[in-house]
């Protein structure tokens, strides 16, 4: 008699690896494969649907048959590991990058990365920004050691293709916008976040993106300022704070290097 663990691993082998052998011997059915197929179909259909909901633009770009084929292979290689399917599919962009049948659509993986960022923004937890008074209360020598914690909806994304235009054009059915896409315009620097009105994807210039990325990575303020080396970053910081992009901060340890870099703070 199989143990429960043996039975569940045998069922997993049937559903995910398409190996019915061990499970079939445990079933009290005339044609075990038919019954196992019902469950396998539910598994693949359900997880494919979760991917389609996360990657609607990819689905439209490649068409349903192609999408289902790619999803089937992806699911077999990266089956979900938790019952929270809203978090499933983070590896799909990387999978698409190496997926030979899609090689002619060189921008596909980058569009998928944008879709994943959008999806993260949609589902991110509700968290309030921190109270600015806490920052004002810090002495100036401590303010430069501030490391921010970004809102969980935020992603700073750099892509080699104008994926924001492609993404909007595909989902909006805007053929004119898509016809105008030039894949050779160089990288785009994007901020993806959830605002009160919904998810927003905005373009930043290269310097502003790098400054925002440094802050969102939790680098100390002095370091981010020093790297930017540009007086406009104070205005940018004020904008980030006003937009509620940070939910908390901590203080980096005092160290000589950091203190030295203060001299270059604008």
């Amino acid at each position: 008699m199989p143990t429960l663990l043996e039975l569940q691993r045998a069922m997993r082998a049937s559903l995910v690896d398409r190996n019915d052998g061990p499970a079939a011997t445990m079933l009290a059915e005339n044609v075990p494969a038919d019954r196992l197929n019902v469950y396998r179909n539910t598994f693949v259909t359900g997880v494919t649907k979760a991917l389609r909901l996360s990657y609607p633009a990819i689905h439209r770009l490649v068409g349903n048959d192609f999408f289902e084929g790619a999803a089937g292979l992806f699911i077999a290689q990266h089956p979900p590991c938790a019952a929270y399917l809203d978090e499933y599919g983070a590896d799909f962009p990387q999978f698409l990058r190496g997926f030979q049948p899609a090689a002619s659509l060189e921008y596909l993986a980058d569009v998928a990365r944008l879709e994943w960022a959008v999806k993260r923004a949609i589902h991110a937890a509700d968290v309030e920004p921190f109270d600015f008074k806490r920052l004002d209360a810090l002495p100036p020598e401590d303010q430069v050691r501030v490391c921010f914690v970004p809102h969980p909806s935020i992603t700073l994304l750099c892509a080699d293709y104008p994926v924001d235009v492609i993404w909007r054009g595909v989902l909006g059915g805007d053929d004119a916008a898509l016809a105008g896409v030039d894949l050779k315009t160089g990288p785009v620097y994007l901020l993806v976040e959830r605002r009160a009105t919904g998810v927003e994807v905005s373009r930043l210039d290269t310097a502003a993106w790098h400054f925002a990325a440094a802050l969102c990575e939790g680098r100390p303020l002095a370091e981010a300022f020093a790297e930017a080396g540009d007086t406009s970053v104070e205005v940018q910081l004020a904008e980030h704070l006003a937009a509620g992009r940070f939910i908390d901060f901590r203080l980096a340890p005092c160290d000589a290097a950091l203190t030295a870099s203060l001299e270059t703070v604008p």
Binding site: M1, A28, E29, V31, Y39, T42, Y84, D86, I122
Partner: protein
Amino acid sequence: MFPPAAKQQSPIPAKAGIGLRFQHHQAVLDTDPDVAWMEIHTENYMGGGTPLRYLDAIRRDYPISLHGVGLSLGSAEGLDPAHLERIRRVAERVEPAMMSEHIAWSMANGTYLADLLPLPMTEEALAVVCRHVDQVQNYMKRRILVENPSTYLRFRHSTIPEWEFMTAVAERTGCGILCDVNNIYVSAHNHGWDASTYLAALPPAAIGEIHLAGHSVRSLPDGSTLRIDDHGSHVIAEVWALYGQALARFGPVPTLIEWDTDVPPLDVLLGEADYAGALLASAGQEARRADAA
């Protein structure tokens, strides 16, 4: 029984409710439908943003039941503590009037199989489920209900009739039973059981909720037909009849209409709920007459 009790809304009345789906969020707020309560899939509200904002507004006017589909109470490998905590956080925010899960499993070898898979009806599986129900009730600090599954296959080494398995889980853990009448009908057809016998074997005092839904019929290559619990159509007449038997045995119990695929306009769901509500009302009159006699 599960100290100290978690905060919750006032109890759900023995009336008809509907499964709340994203498609109907706005319509519910706009039309304030005449329905006694609503049930949500816990897994759909684990993030932030729009769904929770709608739910915050809707729960002010309707008692909410949290119905989980992913906890895998029957997993030999144990419950996923991260998932248990996600559920607890949703419960903390919603303070639901009821919480339920399934007699099924969906995790193996660290893979989530995205379905409510059938358990072998064995003493080992019963012990695993009971241990996990105890764990959940202690973690959530409240009683939960467990739902009987729809199944499409059976295991050779099963020794316990499903209705005895359900009863034993309730007796050993103190949990309630969410009696899915459509599931009983579907499984009875698929396995050649008698649905009335199944119903008659369940302990009335443990029944905390009833589910009703539509199902489809699929022909298999071997010539047999399977009834598939896809929640994609109206409740069929035979299931309404079985529901009548359930009410006669259990008395009026909060009853939910579920519809998850090809979700129709809200009015269609409300129509099904109205019909369930009428049957509930007459079951209530019967019960009062019986008490008076």
